[in-house]
């Protein structure tokens, strides 16, 4: 079975399917008639098959060796995206929890606790020792009220975040405006402008100290002022008095006869209703971290959130109830330990009395 080079190449072409045309026809005829060529084709095919098998085995061994390290983990692109997303969510959650801690309990880091303590000390300087407010109130800031933001129209202007000495000067001017009698000296004495500055310095120094740490945002005290409270004492007929106390529409349904008061009596009542300066109230202006608008009032100290400190406030007390006038609108202030929204006085009779 001696095959020359030419025949070898022809057989190769035949087996690979590249032999075409006349060449193919001629070869097929030879294959039919010539036993030697048939043997040569068979032998060549067997050897080619063996070469292919050997090469196949060689490549498979190569792949097996290269991929035998089962430690190589293959991750599909989908999984890669999913893992990256999960990592991003976890990272965001960690950052969110660091910025908005759920409380000052166990989850707080020592750095956070230290900064909170310093802030507490700063507030001690702001509040008088006999303050009725609890210390913890400052910690329970308006962050928890972020969901509910009451709509109080046109009360807020951009509050100054930092209290400067100019602000203290403004406070003095403010007090002078609202003073009536000789009480203003006492009130001015109570204005803690210096204290505020000191407190802010403390806060800023605290923030400087903890600059490298995570800063926990909280409500910011802008300024403290004192205002006189005028007591409105009325000696009206029972029906009118009732209508003032009960903020109910029933009062307006009283018969005309009952409501009719002689002009003389009204004059006397008006004379008696002239507001009398009764006491002073300390007002703190706070900038809520969540832009909360409302108040917190314990009887001696009023904390206003989201109210412009340059607004002129007027306090009146009627039947042991405190009313404040902010920008021409009267609001009713209720004693409470929690944050409250400002409730606008809507009773026309009561408004008339408060406006007198």
């Amino acid at each position: 079975m001696n095959v020359d080079e030419k025949t070898y190449h022809i057989i190769n072409a035949y087996l690979s399917g590249t032999l075409q045309g006349r060449g193919l026809d001629k070869f097929k005829a030879d294959l039919k008639n010539n036993t030697e060529i048939r043997e040569a084709v068979a032998a060549q095919q067997s050897i080619i098959q063996a070469i292919e098998t050997a090469r196949d085995k060689e490549l498979k061994d190569f792949i097996s060796k290269s991929t035998s390290n089962k430690g190589v983990i293959t991750i599909s692109p989908k999984w890669r995206v999913a893992m990256a997303s999960a990592a991003a969510i976890v990272l965001l959650a960690v950052v969110f929890l660091k910025l908005n801690p759920l409380g000052t309990n166990d989850s707080s880091t020592p750095t956070e606790i230290a900064s909170i303590n310093q802030l507490e000390n700063a507030e001690d300087l702001l509040l008088p020792i006999d303050s009725v407010m609890q210390k913890d109130d400052s910690l329970a800031d308006t962050q928890t009220l972020a969901i509910v933001t009451p709509q109080v129209p046109k009360l807020i202007e951009e509050p100054a975040l930092e209290v400067t000495e100019d602000a203290s000067v403004e406070q003095d001017e403010e007090i002078e405006e609202v003073d009536n009698d000789g009480i203003e000296d006492d009130l001015n004495a109570e204005i803690a402008s210096d204290t505020v500055t000191t407190a802010n310095e403390l806060i800023s120094s605290t923030s400087k100290d903890t600059k490298t740490d995570i800063v926990v945002l909280g409500d910011k005290l802008l300024t403290t002022k004192s205002y006189p409270v005028f007591a409105v004492a009325l000696d009206l007929n029972p029906s009118r008095a009732e209508s003032l106390i009960e903020v109910q529409p029933e009062a307006t349904r009283l018969s005309r006869k009952e409501r009719k008061v002689p002009e003389q009596a009204e004059d006397e009542a008006a004379a008696k209703a002239k507001p009398q300066l009764s006491r002073a109230i300390k007002v703190q202006y706070w900038n809520s971290v969540v832009n909360y608008i409302g108040y917190q009032y314990n009887g001696a100290l009023l904390k206003l959130y989201g109210i412009d400190q340059n607004q002129v406030l007027e306090f009146k007390e009627l039947d042991n109830r405190l009313y404040v006038r902010i920008g021409g609108t009267h609001f009713y202030l209720e004693r409470n330990q929690n944050h409250k929204r400002l409730a606008e006085v809507s009773n026309p009779t009561l408004l008339k009395v408060l406006n007198e």
């Binding site: 098959q49 070469i51 196949d56 085995k57």
Partner: protein, 187 residues
């Protein structure tokens, strides 16, 4: 996949055409999870995954080196299609519902022809050939490399040198085989 970035399909094919065997590993690793999920969902096991994927990437390797090869889809789709076909074939074998391909019967390289000879011995002979001859014959018959590429890879002067060298190597191997077997054994 760790350690291996994704390559564009045309880059992979180019490298295959240059005879870069690392592309086999790349394709294997790149499509391992995909093929594994498919086979495990279709009554297969881990060993089957290895076998099928090896056969798949080798089939891609051989096809990509054919002169008329044209990739009409994404490479991953093509690989997956081959893997699926191979696995379905394997399942058919296992369930003994093997379809007999008539063309295979007609083929001169059918199993019947080699009943009288041990193919593994010829394979061993191929493996024991000198490196250049073995690689030359493998590149030509199995990989389907062009004579020009073979010349480049094996440092031959030109394609004609490859042709004549191929004949010499083949004749050498044939002589060894014929020394071992009668020519009737090969028919």
């Amino acid at each position: 996949m760790f350690g291996i970035g994704e390559k564009a399909d045309h880059t992979v094919l180019e490298k295959i055409n240059q005879g870069d065997e690392q592309m086999l590993i790349y394709m294997y690793k790149q499509h391992y999870t995909m093929v594994k999920n498919f086979i495990l969902k279709n009554s297969g096991d881990e060993d089957a995954v290895d076998d099928i994927l090896q056969d798949t990437v080798i089939a891609v390797w051989k096809n990509a080196n054919k002169t008329n090869f044209l990739l009409r889809s994404k490479l991953s789709t093509y690989i997956m299609a081959i893997a699926k076909n191979l696995w379905y074939k394997e399942l058919k074998k296992k369930t003994k519902f093997k379809l007999v391909d008539e063309t295979q019967k007609m083929d001169l390289g059918s199993e019947e022809m080699n009943l009288n000879m041990d193919q593994s011995i010829i394979i061993k002979m191929v493996q024991e050939m000198d490196e250049t001859c073995r690689r030359l014959l493998s590149y030509f018959y199995f990989d389907g490399f062009s004579t020009k590429l073979i010349a480049d890879k094996l440092n031959f002067a030109n394609a004609d040198t490859v042709k004549s060298k191929k004949y010499q190597c083949f004749k050498k191997l044939q002589s060894s085989v014929l020394n071992k077997y009668k020519k009737e054994d090969l028919i």
